[in-house]
Amino acid sequence: MSAAYEMIVGLEVHVQLKTRTKAFCRCSTSFGDPPNTNTCPVCLALPGALPVLNERAVELAARAALALGLEVHERSIFARKNYFYPDLPKGYQISQFDRPLAERGALAIGGGRSIGITRIHMEEDAGKSVHDRFPGFTAIDLNRAGVPLIEIVSEPEIRSSAEAGAYLRALKEILSYAEVSDVSMEEGSLRVDANVSARPVGETALRTRTEIKNLNSFSNVERALELEFARHVSVHESGGTIVQQTMLFDAHKNEVRGARSKEGSHDYRYFPEPDLPPLVLTSEWIQGVRYGLPEFPAARRARYAASYAMGETDAEVLTSSRALGDYFEKVASAAGDPKLAANWVMGEVSAALNESETEIGAFAVPPAALGELIALVKNGALSNTAAKTVFATMLKEGGTARLIAERDGLLQVGDDSALVAWIDEVWAEHPDEAARFAGGERKLQGVLVGFVMKKSKGRADPKKVNQLLGARAGT
């Protein structure tokens, strides 16, 4: 039955900006400190305290907006959103209402689809209410109160739960690349509310929507959308009406249920925040923020394909984070061989990162050092095996590839007299094989090379050994 209906979804995403201090005071935004220790007269809403907007928060919000292709307004206005809740100390949230920071952008989600972004506005976070710590009480921690957020509001253009997931992943990737946020749902630096409705395919008007809150992972967003969409369809099918209300997703019970609050009873009494004059940004300043934006993943992948002749899968892996791509590019340029560099980064480096559970930003081997190591392999000074040994040493002790290889005697030996001496020894030790080889049994060449390599402890240049053996085969 649901084939006849289409899903209409708009997402509201709250993202915490990566500032050192809060939006309207200079208290630390650090996570996990003892309750109410990162507070001051402003974020405690003590009588007489006043807000002063964080410059860095504005810059990060503008970066996010420009990264998503929105127009950043030269004048925007803050407003008070009034409601009572114990973790909202002023009794209002400073937000933006009818004059937001930025409007009209779009986000490509793959498959040629693009979702419109209506607006991005700045606001402050509320504190944390803890309901289960003290029997009979709710405990309030205001460390988070006043932390800077942006709210990113999409157009209702998402048509399936898969598209919602794709939208969120693309959004997360861009915001992470732009370094505006940690975008971690686990730490609450990215939060999603979804507006859903269903309508018969072909109908143009939108039907009544509901808003789902409490979505704490991308897969929960997708699950909740499916459940709520199915509910809408069955209500429509049975001739009922959808009531506009807030829904909560319960991941454990895998159900969406109505919140007790009555939508429509909210009256936030927005009005312009009189403590803050308009936010005025010059076009030069906005241009400067635009110039400071990094290359985004899609452009980067295209460049890798064009200049490194890299396949789609490899490009995808290497651009999965901005830092990994940056690392790879430095390695490639130092090594002088992007293909080898890509193999090393996706192979040895990834394995080492996984094992040590570190991020590429904190990786022990600097890209220039890895590049040098790869260059040694490329020009034949190190065998692949020896290079892996050197890499393991660099991981443990640091240092540069050439010095480690020299110290540990791992450089390849390509000097004819040394190689001939080893071959002579092998001839003496394995007269039978040597004789058969000389007699024309060419398939023994591999065995003999192996003996030489073993004798040289891996240092002999196999190419040269092969050449010299070929000469002895007498053909």
């Binding site: 003590l46 009588p47 007489g48 006043l50 002063v52 009572f84 009494r269 009189p274």
Partner: protein
């Protein structure tokens, strides 16, 4: 004959600072004299009740660390009870903040301390600065030192009365619609409302953020100018509405007004103005003329809309500003059924009648369906009122002269209708809406009760406003107090 602490207290801030700087007087003795004077006039059933909290030990302790070379060295002062200080209470004249001591200092308190001035008390006020008589204080009304059966005006009545009664030479109040100028006029002292943004509001408990100003009281124009110079200036780190301007030099030796054009707006001299008030204003205008000023008739056509606009914008902003008094983090907490019960019990017990009325009014004008008709409309008309002023300045007028109030101080309890009380702000409220500076200077007495004349100047031209005030004070001389 050498000065005594009692006599310098009367001579004013300039005399005290000079005596302390030159080592002729110990700041300690001045502070003790101030407390002695308060003891004499403020306490008891018929006392002025103009100081809500004070502590001799803490004031004497402040003396120890006060710089003796400061511009206000050793000068005792009173701050209105809505200006945050880490010593003494900051209760805003409200039960909801009874006994509350701020854990941080307002910018104004910090600047005064750095200038060597000594806080001796917190001035009584109408609860949260909502009122024009200081009768709406949760801690009882203040009395007018000139006539104790009358109000000192408000809402900064305690600060005005403490200057008029000789407890301190300077005091600080706050203005949202006339709360410094009106009590200054009622008590026969000088009261200044600076340009919006001239004095940092950091630490001033907000009533209506877009209209609130910290203001200054002095017995003389010169003391007021001196105090203004100390507390003015950019505070962008703490108050985003603070003007990015250094403190202006306001004191001048000139008492001459040659070349100055002063407008006399007809809307401030309505037919209903009493002959006595009119006569005092005319005498003051003659005094200005005598110093060389040209007086010109002007019009501010939207003046009669100022009160309705004010009584939409101020309650609207107050309804949000006072939401923080919820019993969760500080102040009064009353238990009720659950969280909502706690909120409602706390706020209905903690707020008095007038504050409750204004919160409800403000909530209403912002609520869904009424915002455009009230709040948005008021903002538009506010812009027209401000334009009236810029139009007058553009016509070549340097400042305006008007009465501060229509009548002198009324008897305690005489006004019970809310809107009749609001009419006390009739002549003062436009300056707040237009963000321009204004000052009230004593111009005489009616039946023994002081009345004030108001000088209004363009934004950030406090220098012109003070220059005119100096000349007016000087020309009127003793007549200003008769």
């Amino acid at each position: 004959m050498s000065a005594t602490p009692e006599s310098v207290l009367h001579d004013g801030a300039a005399a005290i600072a000079a005596a302390v700087r030159e080592g002729r007087m110990s700041p300690r003795s001045v502070v003790e004299a101030s407390f002695a004077r308060a003891e004499e006039v403020d306490a008891g059933p018929n006392g002025l009740n103009c100081i809500l909290s004070s502590d001799l030990n803490s004031s004497l302790h402040a003396v120890e660390s006060a710089p003796v070379g400061g511009a206000l060295a050793g000068v005792p002062f009173v701050l209105k009870d809505n200006i945050a200080t880490t010593t003494l209470n900051t209760s805003c004249g409200s039960k909801i903040l009874e006994g509350y001591v701020s854990p941080y200092d307002s910018t104004v308190a910090r600047k005064l301390r750095a200038a060597g001035a000594i806080l001796v008390g917190k001035g009584n006020m109408d609860e949260f600065a909502m009122g024009s008589s200081t009768e709406f204080s949760a801690f009882g009304p203040s009395r007018n030192p000139i006539d104790r059966t009358r109000v000192p005006g408000g809402s900064s009545g305690g600060s005005a009365a403490s200057v008029a009664a000789g407890i301190v030479p300077i005091a600080f109040g706050s203005e949202t619609g006339g709360s410094v100028r009106q009590p200054a006029a009622f008590c026969g002292v000088v009261g200044v409302k600076p340009t919006y943004g001239r004095i940092s509001r950091f630490g001033l408990v907000a009533f209506a953020s877009s209209l609130d100003n910290i203001g200054v009281f002095g017995r003389t124009v010169d003391d007021a100018a001196r105090a203004m110079e100390v507390v003015s200036g950019d505070d962008a780190l703490h108050d985003a509405t603070s003007a990015r301007l250094a403190a202006p030099e306001l004191r001048t030796d000139s008492r001459d007004l040659a070349g100055v054009v002063i407008g006399k707006p007809k809307e401030y001299f309505p037919a209903s103005l009493t002959p006595a008030m009119r006569a005092h204003c005319e005498r003051a205008i003659d005094a200005l003329r005598a110093r060389g000023a040209e007086i010109r008739d002007v019009s501010l056509p939207h003046t009669d809309l100022a009160l309705p606009v004010y009584y939409i914008i101020a309650p609207a902003e107050c309804s949000a500003n006072l939401a923080r008094f919820d019993g969760v983090r500080y102040g009064l907490r009353m238990e009720g059924e659950g969280l909502r019960g706690m909120y409602e019990a706390t706020r209905s017990t903690g707020f008095g009648t007038e504050v409750t009325r204004r919160i409800l009014l403000g909530t209403y004008v912002l609520s869904a369906g009424y915002y455009d008709a009230y709040y948005r409309k008021a903002q538009d008309v506010r812009a027209l009122i401000a334009k009236d002023f810029t139009d007058v300045w553009a016509s070549g007028v340097h400042a305006l002269f008007t009465p501060t109030t229509a009548a002198p101080a009324f008897t305690i309890g005489a006004i019970s209708d809310p809107y009749e009380m609001y009419l006390c702000d009739l002549f003062t409220v436009s300056a707040n809406l237009a963000e321009v500076p204004a000052i009230s200077v004593p111009i005489g007495r009616i039946d023994g009760l002081p009345v004030g004349g108001q000088v209004i100047a363009p934004k950030f031209d406090e220098r012109m406003m003070f220059r005119i005030s100096y000349a007016l004070e000087s020309e009127l001389g003793q007549a200003a107090h008769t």
